[in-house]
Amino acid sequence: MVNIISDVCKYIIIILVVWYTIGAFTALQKRDRKELKWIYYRQNVLTFLLHGTGYLVIILNEKSLDFVIFYAAQVIFFVIYLLLYRSIYKKSSMILLNHMMFFLAIGFIMLARLSFEKVTRQFVFACIAAIVTLVVPRMFSKLKAARRWAMVVGIVGILALAAVLVLGEVEYGAKLSIQLPGDFSIQPSEFVKISFVLLMAVLFRERTDIKRVLFATGVAGAHIIVLVLSRDLGAALIYCMTYLCMLYVASKKPLYFAGGLGLGACAAVAAYFLFSHVQTRVEAWLDPWPIFSSKGNQIGNSLFGIATGGWMGQGLYQGYPKLIPVVDSDFIFAGISEEMGGIVALCIILICLSCLIMFITVSIDLYIPFYKLTGLGLAVVYGTQVFLMIGGDIKMIPSTGVTLPFVSYGGSSVLATFIVFGIIQELYIKRHNEEDRIERKKREQREQEKAGAAGERAKAEAKARRERAAQGKA
């Protein structure tokens, strides 16, 4: 009987996720407030239903009271967080908040199916992160402080990375984390992504002359080299991409972007020849089957999982995601695809895209350079990370060992992602505050003056052209 219910629940989950995804994209186009509100509330309901359906299957299969209690705890957490957030940040973006909850719910379902121990830890991390981020945006709102802090945070960041290089222990061929007393470890590169963005935003906010660009390049290069030496190549790639995009937006010089991409490509080729574990990853990407028993095992099993799951999925507890090494973090996308199905997995890609579009829209609407650059930098961090993670799981690109924000297991990843979303929320609220409005007016005025001058010139030219055309006809 359990199997039948699980099977029915599988289809219910698919319907809920598809419905949610459709909502996410219609909300991007709709402007009518009432309609939007209705979509947002529906999305909340869908998330709770999804979470409940998932846990129904989990409880039926695990047959343990622990999961019932745990489910109740999560529901309470979601309700309280939602209510608190909405009351503290009235003007925050509902859609981002909804997506946060959606990803957390999906992650909680998949992790609970994989390991009770890990999902409870993840839940604790999420609770801590939620509390922290209810406060952080307020801190960030103090503009001057934020700018000064950015420098300090940036320096602390690179020191933390260096500490990993010196103190870190090698895990899956890379030094990623520092062991803390107790059963905890911290992965600084997750947080330094944020401090890196802040630091670059400070550096580029006023000038992008050659001196400043060289200095910023040096700072970014230092981050990237430390990461490469720690063999955290996924993070190195994310930093690299973030730096290039921020430089491009600040300087508006495509040459920098193109040149940077070229340099990055050269560096990637050099890394391939210098580091054996890069070669391993590329080899496993090109053809995992001959080396399936060793290096190709992870990606091979990931593909088996996705392929066997197909569009509909095997259903929770009906597949074998545990055969995929590190399925709870770097390869959770494959695990979801296997059991919840390709449709759900595809929807996750689309919802990530919806988040990313939201990030970029927020940053484009901002006029104060520091905010604009911070928003954009975080968007690039998020977009690149999702792309590397999912692309690696489906063998589109070599696997780089990064996490899927909010879904993958990992305290550092969850907390860092909460902070990223928190900052974006604050920027979203800032779009309409006083300071920004003044800045925008100034810009608009300047642009109007320019446009006015240009317009008169254009009119004159058009008139001349018409006259010439008339003469030609005659």
């Binding site: 055969l323 999702v386 792309f387």
Partner: protein, 461 residues
């Protein structure tokens, strides 16, 4: 701009994922390394493999205590094409693994099974093979080493596939040590029909003749050659089969008598590059559209080939190597008016209630020659059986077209006996290729086997 780059990246990501799940996944699922499928056996009773008429070839027997045994009803007769599943997966057991372990029984039945805690019944796989024909071919080998493949040249359906010596899949576990020991030189586990690599010998002359026709479209019918039993070319001497002097032969006679000197002469006149290109078009040095494990065929003629290499290649010797199934594909292309079909061995899949779940359809692989070229070759192949070396392949019910081959494989005169052909010549229903390893003369040894199969098929005896 950044927005468009990222949206583009995500669209690629979603597109790649969708493509993989829709089209790329099948190949991955069928990968023998995929242990997920085998886990499905915990909830599904592996389906049956049946012949084209519904006769059971392999089924799973469940004991009272739940232990399952795979039983192969015809023992070693279907050993290679059907394969086994206890020591890795081979043959149809491997190709259709997912189908056999998928259950498409009705929702109601699943509900009942669920309540009764019974396994669901897996889908049944119908091969294109015919039990009677397969048994006849197996007997016709008479314990000799070699292979027989029979197909429908118009569709590519494989009707029979025998490779001997084989093994009994029912006792594979017990026999495994002996079969895989180093002393055993018989390669019982090798499917000679698809993985065997043999010099094609005179059966290859079909392709030499075709290339000669193409390069001499108006004059090839005027070709003549004086055969005195051996051909001398400079210092090189090439003997005809058993030193037969064929006298004056024309284009048609050269094929019918399988005159080595005539074909070596044609070969020496050919454009090496065009010839090699044509052979590649026919599948040499290329991946072939075969689902079962197979070996690639090879044909090496290039600017560095010596005259001797050319003379050898023209008669299917030298570096030329071919599997029996590839030989059959070429013969079938002649039978099918120039279109080469992709061979296939699984016809359709049914659920336990007999509803069709999936059905294969014939796939055209390539059009390798024109209808006219096929007709000329067919006429020549008819005369091979009617008045030439292949007379023993003749059938009392229908006209047979074919080609014999006696392929030397060592310097002491050892020969593989080949026959490849089809019938009825005017409207072919079956094509077949026979090889007897070390059998000697193709006309004396392989052609009679082919003849008996044609008689069985068309006369039912």
């Amino acid at each position: 701009m950044i927005r468009y780059i990222f949206v583009g990246m995500f669209v690629c990501l979603a597109g790649y994922f969708a493509y993989f799940v829709s089209f790329g996944s099948e190949e991955v699922i069928k990968n023998p390394l995929n242990n997920r499928i085998n886990n499905m056996a915990n909830i599904v009773v592996r389906g049956e493999i049946r012949d084209r008429n519904g006769e059971t070839i392999a089924h799973t027997q469940t004991e009272e205590d739940g232990t399952e045994t795979r039983v192969y009803n015809y023992g070693g007769v279907f050993a290679h094409p059907v394969g086994y599943m206890s020591r890795g997966l081979t043959g149809i057991e491997s190709l259709a693994n997912l189908d056999l372990l998928s259950s498409h029984v009705s929702f109601f039945e699943r509900l009942v099974n669920e309540v009764m805690e019974r396994k669901n019944v897996g889908d049944n796989v119908y091969t294109t093979m015919d039990v009677g024909l397969q048994q006849f071919c197996y007997q016709a080998m008479g314990g000799r080493k070699g292979a027989i493949v029979v197909s429908n040249p118009k569709t590519g359906e494989i009707l029979a596939m025998v490779s001997t010596p084989g093994y009994d899949p029912n006792t594979l576990d017990a026999d495994w040590a002996a079969l895989t020991s180093e002393e055993n030189q018989d390669a019982n586990l090798l499917n000679r029909a698809t993985q065997g690599q043999y010099p094609p010998g005179s059966t290859f002359k079909i392709l030499t003749a075709l290339e000669y026709m193409r390069e001499n479209p108006d004059t090839y019918q005027d070709f003549t050659y004086e055969c005195d039993g051996s051909m001398e070319y400079g210092d090189l001497v090439l003997a005809c089969h058993e030193g037969h002097a064929h006298g004056t032969v024309d284009f048609k006679g050269a094929l019918a008598q399988s005159c080595n000197g005539a074909f070596a002469t044609m070969g020496l006149s050919l454009d090496k590059e065009k010839w090699a290109d044509m052979c590649e078009e026919f599948g040499f040095n290329q991946e072939l559209p075969i689902d079962l494990l197979y070996s690639k065929s090879s044909f090496v003629v290039d600017s560095e080939s010596t005259d001797w290499d050319i003379m050898q290649s023209a008669i299917g010797q030298g570096k030329t190597m071919e599997s029996p199934i590839h030989n059959l594909m070429i013969t079938s292309a002649v039978a099918n008016g120039g279109t080469m079909m992709a061979p296939y061995i699984i016809d359709h899949t049914e659920n336990a209630d007999g509803e069709v779940i999936s059905k294969a359809s014939p796939v055209q692989y390539r059009t390798v020659m024109t209808q006219e070229e096929a007709n000329v070759l067919k006429e020549d192949m008819i005369s091979v059986v009617a008045e030439g070396s292949g007379y023993q392949a003749a059938c009392q019910y229908v006209q047979v077209a074919g080609k014999t081959g006696s392929a030397q494989y060592n310097s002491t005169g050892g020969m593989h006996a080949w026959f490849t052909g089809f019938a009825p010549a005017e409207d072919p229903e079956i094509a077949l290729t026979v090889i007897i390893e070390g059998g000697g003369s193709g006309g004396e040894v392989a052609a009679p086997v082919a003849g008996s199969i044609f008689n069985y098929y068309f006369g039912g005896q």
